[in-house]
Each structure stands twice: as structure tokens, then as C-alpha cells.
Amino acid sequence: MSFDDYWDAVDDELARLPARPVLEPVPSRTTEDYTSYDVWLTSAGPYRIFGNLSVPTGPGPFPALLETPRYGSVNQVSHHNEKLRYVVFAVTHRGQRNADTPFAAAYPGLFTHGIESPESYVYRGIVADCLRGAEFLLARPDTDRAGVVGDDLALITAARRTGFTALRVAEPLFYRVSDRPPEELADHLRAHPSAQVWETLSYFDPVRHAPGVGATTLLATDDGSWYEPLADALPDAEIYPLTHEDAADNDGLDAWLAGRLGVEPMSRFVR
């Protein structure tokens, strides 16, 4: 199956499935400045996924922010600073906590789950979950411009859904995996050497998705030369050179996004 056909099929499947959102207010995460909700949506599969939504108090519209899931069993609820400034939606993909029925991801194990074919690979559904989250957020009437942040799940989401002004990417999982296989993949290949793995992973290569990104992009890395092919493939990208002084990095990354989405930068460290 061609790259385009593969991903068009994902979009078609999502288009056939109504999201049927359910929002439940969360009083413990609600203040005079924002209201928080637990959210459930139907994604490809069909599979019911989860997310945390927070909406600032006031008439709006507000900038929107989609936080795509990290690699791991738990996603943090969005930070107070994001809740103050954005309509922020942190989407949880299938297999992660709160979206782990009927599929509970294993760690280690998720990265290679179903990797024997592109159709069975778990990340087909995980990308669909992120796309569903984007559709849910972008459809809200109380938002104007929108940003998306995360790893290559954010990049693929920005490539396949219009409406994002800004994309901030760090530590893409699927980038140059044949050059530096992550540990889970190396373990899998040791036991199951197969060329099919590379075929599957090629559908998720962020360099192949990059030309579709319409958003201004910030790529955070401590190795600009390693990421040169990705930066070159993105239509409008700049590199943020990570220093690993992470408070300073966090502030720099926050300020970049805030500038693109028209809000004030904020530091998580209260000085």
C-alpha cells in the first residue's frame, strides 16, 4: 500500500466514526481562572480514548493547544500555566492509563506491538487517536489559532490536519530508527529479524510527513546536524538548540510557542 493510501485509509476510517465526545467537569481541577474536564472520544478501531481538557474563564476566543501523548504509560495533566493561557487538550492514546480498556500497553513492548505489518502496527491507531484529538480541539468554537506540541505524533498530526499555526517537536521516536534503533526495537530485531519492520516504520518516518506540515515549526534538539534532514523537509522550521539546562530550555520553548499563539510567556519555576 502506498504511503498516501495508508494514511488516507486512516482518515476515511475516522470520518466514518462519529467522535461522540463526552465531557465531565472535574471540580478539583477547576479554579476561577479555568474549567477542566475529563473527555472521552471514539477513535479508529473503534476505540474509546481519553483526554484532559481545560478552558480558560472568559468570553474567548482563546488560542488552542493540543498536547500529544508522551511515550509511556502515563500522560501528565496539562500544567497550570497552559490552563491559564490556552484551551488545552492533552490526548491520551489507546493503551495508556485511562485509555487502557480493552488494550493495555506494555512497557517495554508498545513500540513493537504489531510491527509485523503496517496495518497491524499499534501506532496506526495511536496516530488516529491524535488526529481525533486534533479534530475535537479544532472544532471548538471558543478557539482561534492553535498549536500542537510533542514528539513525531505532534508532527504527523500537524501534517495531516490543517488549522495549526505552530508546531513544537522534540525527540521524535521514528526518526532515523534504522541508524539508531531504540532499545525496544533492537530487542525485537534480535529475536525476530525481518525486513518487514522497516517497511512498517517507513509509514511513520517524520521526514516523509514533514512536507505536509503547514505550521511554523520549532524543532528542539541538542544535535542540529543529526536532525538536518528533518529540518530541511519541514516547510517552515527553525532549530531550538537544547542546552540541557532544562529550566532555561523550558522557558525558551514556552516563549516560542506563546509568541506564535499570542499569549504571554510563563515560567513553571515561580521565582
Binding site: T30, G72, D246, N250, F269, R271
Partner: protein, 310 residues
């Protein structure tokens, strides 16, 4: 402007703190460990053997861990228990065995591989039964790490005089509590950005998770504040620190929004004797990572003497 090193962090110490934890450890150790070690060929390499471990801990809960040993080299090896962070699952600690350690990466109850009968969720663990120190969710969680030390000490290929603890954030905090509860068994602790120290003060110093969980809990249960403060005082690393006998290396990010540096300085001050402290300006919860790992490895090697490349 904050001055974390100069800040005063006070944690009341319950009068029955020592008795509570002595009873807790006794209740736990009264249960046979019944450890099982199943070789994991898919995770093992030419240089490191990996085992899927289960053992019995507090209230009979079966707890999982990954255990790794060097393939070659002279046993006994120094032992290292690695303790996970709040939201992370334990990594298979092969890297430590490549450095010569027999390493046990514990998944305390509630982590994915140990959540069959206790699963408070994330967020959730920090506030699970937080109004009662007897039933607080962290009681078993703390003891699971203590029993992990016992599992490691029971291995014939481990030198029981050279067992260390390593972790960051929750792993750092529980390194300190475990060293206090097993002072005779622990040779050294590497604790990065220790969590669960100065707990109530931390909720006032940050809006970041996990401490934000307590802030949220008190938003809907403001009348529980005295009970919450009482409960967490039994679990605060600052109250455990005076019992630690092993050298503890602490490293802190001076702009850590997750575990405020004030609390890290406070637990360092509460340790008896001299202990190395490394601080990193402009750093947050990574607390100097990745470059601090070289310092961590050197500290552990100094006290545990692995035969590198064995």
C-alpha cells in the same frame, strides 16, 4: 527572588513515627518473600542476562521487578536497586549490569506490572487514602522498595555488603526512605531531585504535578488539610533522613518546578554527617541530566566497586 538554599522547610515529626515504620516493616517481613526469577531471553543480550522477578510484599501483594546480571566476570557483584519515578515504568536495567552491577529495577505496587490488586492510577497515587497514614497508598509502595532490597540481598551472586540505591525524583525520595528503613543493608544512595521531601511545603512552592494533586485534593476537601498534613508527615523524606547511615549523593536543579529545590536542600541538611550535594543552575527537574549521570556513576562506583566491563 527565591533563595532555595536559605529557605526553612519544617516537617513535624509524629511522636510514633519510628514505631509506625517499625511495625510496618515487621508486618511486611513477616510474610515470606517467595521470589521468583524467570529468565527473559527476549530481553537478554550477549553481555547481560535479564530476569522477570516477582516477590511478595506488604499485605501479600506480588510485586514485579526486572533483574539483570553481567554474563561474565567475577561474582559476587555489587547490587543496585533502581527505583522509578512517579509516572515512569522501570526500565530494564541492562546498562547498570554492563557496568558490573547486579541490578534490580523495582515496579512498586500500582506500576503496570504490579497493579493487579492495587491500582490508584496516575494521577491518584499521591492522594490515595491520604487522610489516614495507616492506609495511605504509599505505605505499601514504600515497603515494596524495602523488600526489593531483601530480594537482591538474597541472591548468592550479590555481595550483600555492597548494595546501593539509585533513582531520581520519586526514585530519589524513596532511596532516602529505604536507606532509613534498612540502614544496615545499604552502602550508598544516589538521589536526584528527591520527591516526597517537604511535601506540604512543596505544594505551596509549585503548581506542577505530582504535588499539584494535593492542591487539587484540598480544593474539594479543604477541611481535610490537617489530616493530609498529618498523613504525609509519616512519609516525608525529611523525617526519614536522620536514620540514614549510608553516604547519600543528592543532586538538584536550582529551578526545579516539580520538586522545589528548597525541599532538596532541606533533606540534605537533615541527613546526619557529610554527604555530597551537586546543584545545577538554570536546571529544572532533570537536575543536571544527562551530564550528571557521569557523577552518579562515579559516586556509585566509589562505594560499590563494580568491576567495570567484567
Amino acid at each position: 527572588m527565591r533563595d532555595p538554599e536559605a529557605a526553612t522547610i519544617e516537617v513535624p515529626r509524629p511522636a510514633d513515627f519510628d514505631e509506625f515504620w517499625a511495625e510496618s516493616v515487621a508486618a511486611c517481613t513477616a510474610l515470606p518473600l517467595r521470589p521468583s526469577f524467570e529468565y527473559a531471553p527476549g530481553l537478554s543480550t550477549d553481555t547481560v542476562a535479564v530476569y522477570d522477578v516477582r516477590y511478595t510484599s506488604y499485605q501479600g501483594v506480588r510485586v514485579a521487578a526486572w533483574y539483570t546480571t553481567p554474563r561474565d566476570g567475577p561474582a559476587p557483584y555489587p547490587g543496585l536497586v533502581t527505583i522509578p519515578g512517579y509516572i515512569s515504568e522501570p526500565d530494564v536495567p541492562r546498562r547498570w549490569s554492563e557496568l558490573g552491577y547486579a541490578a534490580l529495577a523495582v515496579a512498586p505496587r500500582g506500576k503496570l506490572r504490579s497493579n493487579a490488586v492495587f491500582d490508584p492510577g496516575y494521577p491518584g497515587l499521591l492522594t490515595h487514602n491520604i487522610v489516614d497514614h495507616h492506609t495511605y497508598g504509599y505505605r505499601g509502595f514504600y515497603l515494596d522498595v524495602v523488600r526489593a532490597v531483601d530480594v537482591l540481598a538474597g541472591r548468592s551472586e550479590v555481595d550483600t555488603s555492597r548494595i546501593g540505591l539509585q533513582g531520581s525524583s520519586q526514585g530519589g525520595g524513596l532511596g532516602i526512605t529505604t536507606a532509613a528503613l534498612r540502614p544496615e543493608a545499604i552502602a550508598c544512595v544516589s538521589a536526584g531531585a528527591p520527591y516526597l521531601c517537604g511535601i506540604m511545603a512543596a505544594t505551596r512552592l509549585t503548581r506542577s504535578y505530582p504535588y499539584e494533586e494535593i492542591t487539587e485534593y484540598l480544593r474539594v476537601h479543604p477541611d481535610h488539610a490537617p489530616l493530609v498534613a498529618e498523613t504525609v508527615s509519616y512519609y516525608d523524606g525529611i523525617n526519614f533522613a536522620p536514620k540514614v547511615r549510608a553516604p547519600v549523593m543528592i543532586y538538584l536543579g536550582l529551578e526545579d518546578d516539580v520538586c522545589p529545590p528548597e525541599t532538596g536542600f532541606a533533606v540534605h541538611r537533615a541527613l546526619p554527617g557529610e554527604h555530597p550535594l551537586h546543584t545545577y543552575p538554570r536546571c529544572a527537574h532533570h537536575a543536571g541530566l544527562p551530564r550528571v549521570m557521569t557523577v552518579v556513576e562515579e559516586f556509585l562506583a566509589e562505594h560499590l566497586a563494580p568491576e567495570v566491563g567484567a
